[in-house]
């Protein structure tokens, strides 16, 4: 098999960016043998500069520097920002992996737009640009004859969008309910299993590295709302934006309500309800497939032919999310 060299640009070298690099180190040979492509990283961009090497960046060395917070010591480090790298380096695929800002969608939005306009495919884990501008981005991709793939934006490692595309082609999706945020699920699980307050459960989530220092984005349901907007557009052909989603978080759930639910053989979960374009805490029976514990995510799809399908797995984590990103990369190349 003739080997095709594919150039990648990574924008954002945090947990997910590093996860992609680690997985590529591990799976490079496998991808070469099975797909006939040699994935080379031409550029890695961080907030204040970039590493560029069009012959392929040494990932092992770069990862070591990044883990020790010494990325700037890299011999190819320069202060060129991501947007200029997109303009300067012609990659085959741009991986947009910067953090989500649901108010503006930036900086991911401008990175994705610029990449698509320059004829580069985009694979992203960044929810905000798609939750805010789904149709517009799809139009730009279409008019430039490139692909925009976003499996990793919803529920990390869980294959939902590609499951629909590759395995549920003839189905009409009638409803989607999901636990789409690991932090809130971890907190609700701790409250139910250990009878602790929300503050105590959140503190523990922060200590074990599941929750951010500011967990508002997760607890208030904003993160889940962004995912509901993406699923509504991509799986149910609704033309909606994040701002159309009605969101109620879990911040006002009391230990007494959790106990009351338990007494009646139920649990309280933060559910993204795509049909209703709604995020809210809901009561579900303890034996329901969506009753998953800890930081797990779960999505239940009801389709007209296949009926109910539930998938459960890791909704976060750099390595786990890389599974979805590589699925999209290989799909772009197929």
């Amino acid at each position: 098999m003739k080997l095709k060299i594919v150039k990648l640009t990574i924008i954002g070298f945090g947990g997910i960016g590093k996860g992609v690099a680690k997985v590529l180190l591990k799976k490079k040979g496998f991808i070469k043998r099975n797909y006939g492509v040699d994935l080379n990283i031409s550029a890695i961009c961080e907030i204040d500069g970039s590493i560029i090497d069009e012959n392929g960046i040494d990932l092992k060395e770069t990862l070591e520097l990044a883990e020790n917070k010494k990325l700037k010591k890299h011999k190819n480090w320069s202060s060129i920002i991501a947007l200029d790298v997109i303009k300067k380096i012609k990659s085959d695929i741009v991986l947009e992996l910067t953090p989500s800002d649901i108010k503006s969608g930036q900086p991911g939005l401008k990175h994705i737009k610029e990449s698509l306009k320059r004829g580069m495919h985009v694979v992203t884990s960044n929810k905000a640009p798609l939750a805010l501008k789904f149709s517009e981005l799809q139009e730009i991709a279409k008019s430039n004859r490139v692909k925009l793939k976003y499996e990793a934006t919803v529920a990390g490692a869980l294959p939902i969008i590609n499951l629909r595309k590759h395995a549920l082609q003839i189905n009409k999706i009638e409803s989607i309910h999901g636990i789409l945020n690991g932090t809130s699920n971890y907190v609700l699980t701790k409250m139910a299993e250990e009878g602790v307050s929300m503050d105590a459960a959140l503190k523990e989530a922060q200590e074990v590295g599941i929750a951010e220092a500011d967990p508002g984005y997760d607890i208030k349901g904003i993160d889940t709302g962004a995912k509901v907007a993406i699923l509504a557009n991509s799986l149910m052909n609704m033309k909606v934006s994040f701002n159309d989603i009605e969101i109620t978080g879990i911040e006002d759930i009391t230990p007494e309500a959790i106990e009351l639910a338990k007494k009646h053989n139920c649990v309280i979960k933060l559910i993204g309800d795509v049909n209703r374009l709604e995020v809210s805490p809901r009561l579900i029976p303890v034996n329901h497939p969506l009753n998953v514990s800890g930081a797990l995510n779960a999505v239940m799809i009801h389709a007209d032919i296949a009926k109910n399908i539930t998938i459960v797995g890791h909704g976060a984590g750099g390595i786990e999310t890389a599974s979805s990103l590589f699925s999209d990369i290989l799909d772009v190349l197929s």
Binding site: H177, D252, I253, T254, L260, A261, I268, P281, R282, L283
Partner: protein, 160 residues
């Protein structure tokens, strides 16, 4: 049971068959043939249980026979469903009687479980409501109105 039948030969017989197949004892059949394409038929019968009624309804549906109304022992029969939810807020202090009465205009509050940690803290109240399946929209509307007005956090069941 009131049915609407097509005015074609054999349609009455087809409508009566499911009743007798599932053990119904037919007491009377009122057949009012008018000018319209559909004929109104009222059948009175005795059955042993709810399951038999469900099976009769299912068979009639299969034959595209429309059941316009069912009266059970003189009262209007409907497909009963139960909705469960939890309210978090000052549910007792904001006149729980009023909350229940307003819900009872649409359905029937059949069970209430209250947890009140202390008078000044928010209480959590679980309610089960029996209602006619056809009135789900109205029921949700009144529950949402109450929650908005009395500042309750509503935790609906997945089906609700």
């Amino acid at each position: 049971m009131k049915l609407s039948l097509k005015d074609v030969p054999g349609s009455l017989l087809r409508a009566l068959e499911p009743v007798s197949i599932h053990g119904g004892n037919i007491l009377s059949v009122l057949h009012s043939r008018g000018e319209k394409e559909l004929v109104s038929v009222q059948i009175s019968f005795k059955i042993k249980d709810q399951l038999a009624l469900d099976l009769i309804k299912k068979d009639l549906k299969k034959q595209n026979i429309r059941v316009s109304e069912i009266l059970l022992e003189g009262k209007r029969y409907y497909s009963k469903k139960t909705l469960s939810f939890i309210l978090i807020g000052h549910v007792i202090d904001t006149d729980i009687r009023n909350t229940v009465d307003r819900i009872n205009e649409i359905g029937l509050v059949s069970d209430i479980d209250v947890v009140m940690p202390s008078p000044e803290k928010k209480s959590s109240v679980m309610m089960n409501i029996d209602f006619d399946d056809k009135r789900i929209k109205k029921l949700n509307k009144i529950i949402n109105e109450i929650c908005k007005e009395k500042k309750f956090l509503l935790i609906r069941s997945l089906e609700g």
